[in-house]
Symmetry: C2
Subunit: 233 residues, 2 copies
DNA sequence: TTACTACGAATTGTCGACAATCTTAAAGAA
DNA sequence: TTCTTTAAGATTGTCGACAATTCGTAGTAA
């Protein structure tokens, strides 16, 4: 029984393992977006029965990575520009809330630890100059800590088990390693300061802006890729 | 193949039917909150195999009505005061967003139809004087229409398939038929006016307030019931 | 050629049985 | 007595097979 990195999923059963594996493959694009999922084929590939695979598919559906139709089957979700907007609208509202709650509920040592993490990121960033570390794992870590700091279990579940896998999927598959690294760092700093001052209103506002900027960044990348794709035809 | 009233669930398979039936029983309290669910027992009761039942349980889990632990089993969610607060914090953020979006995206005829519905509610209310109709179905209908008016599919799914069943569970089991009926009507009117004027900011604010009031109302009932329960011991 | 129908292959939904795990209760040791 | 250990019982997880439905194809008629 191990624990998964990207959500607090305890891996105890075979279907847990298949769920986590498939999730990784979908997020990273090994299993192509929009592609149909054949139950018999994948069951054989993961070495489990169809019942076990279907259990995993059910859970992938609840985090919006696949879509099912009765008697038809399962498809990996398709990353469209429209859906990106929808997801980020929801994310902004929820993570804004998380930030406001965190300003009230985060323990002082949690805040200190988060500030320390930011400093550490700054060091790493200076050395590696635009290395993808910060943008990927570091940014995720920052957001997760604030989400947890809200102490709202329902909200935490909704974001970390629900939305974030889909958001990661966009980021990974769009290849987000842009020039937003240093800007994002400053924004993170401002947010944590607001939280430290228990200024929930400001923290919420800053987080919403931060997320809007992130959305704009991904959207630009999306349009760029779409244009390249069109030119290649 | 029929359609379910409380979410756009198309009932095609046996597990669909079990899912909808169980959901109703849990929301209404026929299946007691906090109680353990025995797979063999319920499978027999619904006349399906365990596989089919488990499929339904998976979906009940994704709308937060049951909780599962690996190798241990399934429990109906317990309605606590803490959870009520958490859920309403999330609801307020999401439905506030829905309202803001609806102010931009709702079609004029949808707005008119909603105003008409409100008038109809007013008539009914005058006749039946505090009858539970408005509080239950009418209020739900109002909120659902605005949620749909946001045109954000992800948000719509999150609210109608996710949160609202849990919210209904609180309302039904707390026996919400209070004196908020007329007040709620006025609040609804103000909200739809803001939407009609495309004033998203105001609409969001009003909706958040409306939901806060609703939360306070349920919370009061919750405390009352808790006090009665304590006195009875 | 085009549209419709009917058939067959493949896929999904459902079932009953077996294996792995947890829970309960009894038995034994400190 | 109280705590630990162990074994039986029950419950969940997993499997392979069968039934129901869908999708593609070939064939027929207009």
């Amino acid at each position: 029984m191990t624990q998964d990195a990207f959500s607090e999923t305890l891996i105890t059963t075979a279907s847990d393992q298949v769920f986590v594996d498939m999730r990784r493959e979908i997020v990273e694009g090994s299993i192509e977006q929009g592609s149909k999922i054949s139950e018999p084929e994948l069951a054989k590939r993961y070495g489990v029965s169809r019942a076990t695979l279907r259990e995993a598919l059910n859970r992938l559906e609840s985090c919006y990575l696949v879509e099912r139709k009765a008697n038809v089957g399962c498809r990996v979700v398709a990353l469209t520009a429209e859906r990106l907007i929808e997801v980020y609208q929801v994310r902004s509202a929820l993570e804004g809330l998380a930030c406001r709650l965190a300003a009230d509920n985060m323990a002082p040592d949690e805040v200190q630890s988060l500030k320390q993490l930011l400093n550490q990121h700054l060091q790493t960033q200076r050395v590696k100059e635009g290395e993808s570390y910060y943008q990927e794992a570091g940014d995720l870590d920052f957001h997760f800590r604030i989400i947890k700091g809200s102490k709202n279990e329902h909200l935490i579940h909704l974001l970390s088990n629900g939305l974030y896998q889909l958001i990661r999927m966009y980021r990974v598959q769009m290849g987000m390693v842009g020039p937003r690294v240093s800007k994002a760092f400053d924004e993170h700093l401002a947010i944590i300061n607001a939280i430290e001052n228990h200024d929930g209103e400001l923290a919420e506002l800053l987080m919403k802006r931060h997320i809007s900027a992130s959305q704009a960044n991904i959207q630009a990348k999306f349009d760029l890729l779409a244009a390249q794709k069109k030119a290649a035809q």
